[in-house]
């Protein structure tokens, strides 16, 4: 029975059990019984690691939301800069955290070395600080986006009614902010969850977080059982957080979006506000400009970029083919799932669990589950190319389905009902009513699937067929030798691919708007 291949470990993956895995390619071809009894004991170190990971993720979520909130309120007062929220933020949101980590690795290393030379802070803390900063940077667009959506959900007439009686600042704190809270809360919880389940960024800065435990445990003996048990506390915690998020997501999805009128409320700011805005905007500028400047500078010349791109042509082709396969498979499934989620009644609880469960699982565990699945006799002939597709879909498909659900919820349900009455056939109703009205959501979902596939590493790493490495894997392997012009060139190439995909989405939006498809859903 062919096994799904190899585990490519990071530079250093130290586990809570004290094991150290330094090999660049550890074969996991040893055949194990997946029903073997499993005993895993959680020692004190593991609980400490879980606690540290929770604190780390909470710090990331809170600080990101505070900065994001500052940027959103600043943008609110500058109507001419709406292109930032309409174009730049969506592009930044789809760049995967790991790519941010690669971008930030060198500038942060330089800063770290300088600080360590001067003995200002203990070396142990620097890994955490670097990982924290990188994650804050990578989730910042998401935080700004959720704050903007939160404000847009507030009915301007409610704000206007408050302004008649109270000062602008009081209206902000007492009316606008409480009403925008569901979206802010959802944004913070999502960032917390993503940070908790992500280990690529901390690993790059030599920091061990709990999410890596499953990967490390599986790499030790190739048995999925202990890996699942090891990560069980994390799964339970994530499921609890998800349960809280979903209520907010449903709440936000059912709220009507308004023009930005309520956002452009505050024109006279106190010194404290201006300072807060100044810091937030400086961070946004750094977030966009500094890494870009670093990458462009380290690539030296267009010739080098071209040479690196040509050398990686096989990986680029594999990545694009994989992304296409993911989109072609993922969009119809996400349509189906979004429709199931949007159905009224108790039956949809089942679909909510099915859709959201993968979000509560670390990506590496999904990869391990797939390996375990193909070990089951009868499923071993499952084509390995589709394993990679499934690995890429595992974490992004729920997000695409949720995006589709939000769009369906935001579209007047009676449009669909009227369609179901007046259509000549279900197929025609789907084609002429359902699809045009929900196209925006699924187009966005498609781009999300593509861009996340470009950046996916943790699940596909476990299931990829030998000789079918993606661009991200090439980048990851090159990082073993530290930052180099080649790494920078490949990062730029990956960003270029993501930029092109996002641009296609933007063109799609503009065309759709021209075709008057936007209606009430935007």
């Amino acid at each position: 029975m062919p096994l799904p291949g190899y585990v490519i470990t990071g530079r250093i993956t130290r586990t809570a059990f004290g094991s150290t895995l330094l090999g660049s390619r550890a074969h996991v071809g040893r055949r194990e019984s997946y029903v073997a009894p499993v005993v895993v004991t959680c020692d004190r170190t593991q609980w400490q690691l879980l606690g540290a990971s929770l604190l780390f993720s909470a710090a990331v979520a809170v600080s990101t939301m505070i900065i994001g909130f500052g940027i959103a309120t600043w943008l609110a007062g500058h109507k001419r800069l709406t292109w930032i929220s309409h174009f730049l933020l969506p592009v930044l949101i789809v760049i995967p955290p790991y790519l941010y980590a690669i971008i930030w690795a060198s500038p942060l290393n330089a800063v770290t070395i300088w600080f360590l030379d001067h003995w200002i802070i203990a070396p142990a803390i620097w890994g955490w600080l670097n990982a924290w900063w990188t994650e804050v940077m990578s989730y910042l667009p998401l935080a700004v986006g959720s704050a903007i959506v939160g404000f847009a959900c507030v009915d301007p007439s409610l704000v206007a009614a408050g302004r008649v009686a109270q000062s602008e600042e009081r209206v902000f704190w007492r009316i606008l902010l409480p009403l925008a809270l569901p979206s802010l809360y959802a944004g913070a919880s999502i960032i917390f969850l993503f940070s908790l389940l992500e280990y690529g960024v901390p690993a790059l800065f030599f920091v061990t977080v709990y999410a890596i435990e499953t990967f490390a445990q599986f790499s030790l003996d190739g048995r999925p059982g202990p890996a699942v048990l090891t990560v069980l506390p994390l799964i339970l915690l994530s499921a609890g957080i998800l349960y809280g998020i979903l209520g907010r997501v449903r709440q936000v999805a059912s709220m009507r979006m308004h023009d930005d009128e309520s956002l452009f409320l505050f024109r006279r700011h106190s010194f404290g506000w201006r300072l807060f805005h100044g810091v937030a905007i400086t961070i946004l500028a750094i977030q966009v400009l500094l890494p870009l400047e670093y990458l462009l500078r380290s690539v030296h010349s267009p010739l080098l970029f071209w040479q690196v791109a040509t050398a990686a042509s096989h990986e680029v082709a594999t990545t694009i083919i994989l992304a296409l396969m993911v989109v072609l498979t993922g969009i119809p499934i996400s349509m189906f799932l979004a429709n199931c989620l949007a159905q009224p009644g108790r039956a949809n609880s089942f679909w909510w669990i099915i859709v959201c469960l993968p979000l509560a699982l670390p990506a590496s565990l999904l990869g391990i589950s797939m390996i375990a699945l193909v070990r089951i006799p009868g499923l071993s002939s499952f084509p390995q190319a589709w394993m990679t597709v499934a690995g890429s879909l595992a974490h992004t498909l729920p997000l695409a389905a949720l995006l589709g659900y939000v769009v369906l919820q935001r579209t007047n349900r009676q449009y669909f009902e009227a369609g179901s009455i007046f259509q000549r056939s279900s197929l025609l109703g789907f084609w002429r009513i359902w699809l045009p009205l929900s196209a925006m959501g699924f187009m966005s979902g498609g781009v999300l699937l593509v861009t996340r596939t470009f950046g996916e590493l943790e699940a596909t790493l476990l299931v990829v067929a030998p000789g079918s490495a993606t661009l991200m894997m090439r980048l990851y392997n090159l990082l073993h030798y530290g930052a180099s012009p080649e790494v920078s060139a490949l990062t730029l190439l990956l960003m270029l691919l993501i930029g092109v995909a996002s641009l296609l989405l933007l063109v799609g939006f503009i065309l759709a708007k021209r075709m008057r498809m936007n209606g009430e859903q935007l």
């Binding site: 009676q414 009455i421 007046f422 000549r424 109703g429 009205l437 209606g519």
Partner: protein, 184 residues
């Protein structure tokens, strides 16, 4: 069941703990018009939605033209019931022009026949000049007239109107009441 146009037998419907309809029955013969009056929240819209197949009764049955259409499940899909529905809100699809809205609801006809019927329908409802406009380019009254025309377009055997006179001026109301009895 007999050959009544609509036969509703002891239907019940609740939303959570709120009982909207309890043991409700009615019968409507072919050619008959029935107006249902009542305070807000008494279940008028819910009843129409169940007749249209958009909602399912918790208990009881609905027969349309003698055929079982709903019990605890929807047996006949909404578009298979040959009904026209005017919703409380116009619910015109934002991505279609007025003409496209009506064309979508038209039954399968030959091209010339379809054109004639569409022309007649638009003329009768006073929307001929609006045919190329999108919903956001219509006033409240115009949108209401388009919604009514759309309900007639399919030549339904049963017409369900949920507060159809909202947003119409006096002339519009008189025209509608006259045309509802003798559409074209």
């Amino acid at each position: 069941m007999n050959g009544s146009a609509v036969q509703v037998c002891k239907i019940e419907k609740s939303y959570g703990v709120v009982k909207v309809l309890t043991d409700f029955s009615l019968s409507l013969e072919v050619g008959e018009t029935l107006a249902i009056l009542g305070p807000s929240g008494c279940g008028k819209t819910t009843l129409l939605r169940m007749l249209a197949g958009l909602d399912v009764p918790d208990d009881g049955e609905i027969y349309l033209a003698g055929q079982l259409a709903s019990d605890r499940r929807v047996l006949l899909l909404p578009h298979q019931r040959h009904i026209g529905f005017v919703f409380q809100q116009p619910t015109l699809w934002p991505h279609m022009t007025v003409q496209q809205q009506l064309e979508f609801a038209l039954p399968r006809l030959r091209t010339s026949e379809q054109r004639n019927w569409l022309h007649l329908l638009m003329e009768k409802t006073g929307i001929s000049k609006l045919s190329q406009r999108y919903p956001d380019q219509l006033s409240g009254g115009q949108a209401r007239r388009v919604a009514i025309a759309r309900a007639f377009a399919a030549r339904p055997t049963l017409l369900l109107l949920d507060e159809p006179l909202v947003n119409l001026d006096l002339t519009g109301k008189q025209k509608l009441l006259k045309n509802t009895r003798r559409p074209a």
